[in-house]
């Protein structure tokens, strides 16, 4: 068991994965368990960052940095903005007032994880071809986006526009 762990960690990629996933899980757990909203957001920002790191080790450099840019840069700040503009008094209230509800949820989540874990462990996924070369996949992503996936891409841009206009309309004051 220990030998396997040492063997696992002696590889650079595994070590990086181990550290990043540890940070990601810690961040997620802190997000759930901390009491102040800003701390929660910061914990989650940590998760986002380490996930970005994992993407980069997976050869998805572009997606990794986009993850950092969008999640850590934009979404986290947007969340902090949301927090600053709303009042968060008495965070202690978020302590479970309905313990059986939360307990049930916890059990449910753990059961779900058990099922997923079981399935993952039993699944045999073998690559049918060699992994793609991570070198310069930004270029390839760009080419794919504008050839094969051009329609989803355009729809996505429309969605984004609509979403942001919608956000402005919703957040706008009613009186004007």
């Amino acid at each position: 068991m220990l030998d396997r762990l040492i063997g696992f960690l002696s590889s650079g990629e595994n070590l990086v994965f181990f550290v990043f996933s540890l940070v990601a899980i810690c961040g997620a757990i802190f997000m759930i368990s901390l009491t102040r909203v800003v701390h929660m957001v910061m914990a989650l920002a940590l998760t986002f960052l380490s996930l970005g790191g994992i993407y980069i080790t997976l050869g998805a450099e572009f997606v990794g940095w986009v993850q950092v840019l969008i999640y850590a840069g934009a979404i986290t700040i947007l969340m902090i903005f949301g927090i600053m503009m709303t009042r968060h008094r008495g965070e202690a209230e978020t302590e479970p007032q309905r313990p059986w509800h939360n307990g049930l949820l916890l059990v449910g989540a753990i059961v779900l994880f058990g099922i997923l874990f079981y399935v993952i462990q039993n699944a045999t996924i073998t690559p049918q071809s060699a992994p793609v070369d991570p070198k310069d996949n930004t270029l390839q992503i760009g080419q794919l986006l504008f050839n094969q996936y051009v329609i989803p891409f355009e729809i996505m841009s429309v969605l984004l526009t609509v979403a942001f206009i919608g956000a402005i309309v919703v957040a706008k004051r009613e009186e004007d």
């Binding site: 927090i83 503009m85 709303t86 008094r89 009613e174």
Partner: protein
Amino acid sequence: MAQLERIEPIREQAEAEPAAGSGQQTFADGDISAAYEATAGGLLRAGPPESGDGLRTEELLLNVGPQHPSTHGVFRVIVKLDGEVIREAIPVMGYLHRGTEKLAENLNYTQIIPYTDRMDYVSAMTNNYVLVNAVEKMLQLEIPERAQFLRLIVMELQRIASHMVWWGTYLLDIGAMSPFLFAFRDREIIINLFNELCGARLTYNYMRVGGVKWDAPPGWIDKVREFIPYMRKKLDEYNNLVSGNEIFLARIQGIGKYDAQTAISYGLSGANLRCTGVSWDLRKDQPYCIYDRFEFDVPVGKNGDCYDRYLLRLEEMRQSLRILEQAVAQFPDGGDIMGKAPRVIRPPEGEAYAAIESPRGEIGCYIISRGKQEPFRLKFRRPSFVNLQILPKLLVGETMTNLITILGGIDIVVGEVDA
């Protein structure tokens, strides 16, 4: 007067709660209401005018001042912010109150003069003049020609110096740093002239009942004469430096606008009144000293915004230079500088009001005498104080940024506001 009634409880609150003035409240909890109750005693609780239907918004109560770089001294404005928009503003003054008027009741008239220096310390000469003028009115004194000219020259130089301070600090408030130093470089010349004349750079204590204390030293008038064309050139430079700047115009055009009616009903005077188009300048309309002998124009604005006030003050400097030019040319060669003032000034029983045009507006001095060496009651109409009263009205609906623009545009000197 509603204003006063509202301020009093705030002041009590502020004393009870020393932290209130620190611009810092228990905000970490996002709990604005507690901070808000603590500071303004819930006086601002009425809520934004437009949300009568019970809509709740997140508002921020901010204490601008007493220690704040843009309040020009210890002056405080409590603003209720919605985002960056001011929903309500209450100026709180009195941090620099020294009881000048009360102190004056125990001092004889000569002793009061140094106190007037310290009221509007940016424009001490005009303050000196308004007091001695009121006393002279009571005594019906004849002032010698030379003294009259000296008074006029120093008052006009003072107006230029005062406007220069305003110009520099206003632009500093708006964010430009260099104009401040440009203005102070040139103000230094005036200050040095005053220093040569009366031995002080800020609090001159120059005028006396019946005349002035010092005669012009040899060559002093020539220095003033040289200063006039120099300053004209510098005013053009000031204009080139700032007045056309697009960003600056965007910051001040159309900001802090009011009309003539409002200005008059708030009792505004000086550039704050003239920017609305009302041509009212005591130098022209109720001439004092020897202003009626000189030709000059009273510039007026038409939009009543900060930009008009800005241009007006620049133009006033030019007009002052015009007056100076004439005064220096007509300056008498000799003569007394002190009139026949009695050794102990003891005005007859009665009262007198003298009002003059200070750089900030109409400064008035009202004296009730009971025939003693000391005034029975002395009251200054202080233009900074009066002009400030329009602030709460102007600020509603403006941004935090414009608060500074508007407050600076009014041109207050806190020493004068609080006296």
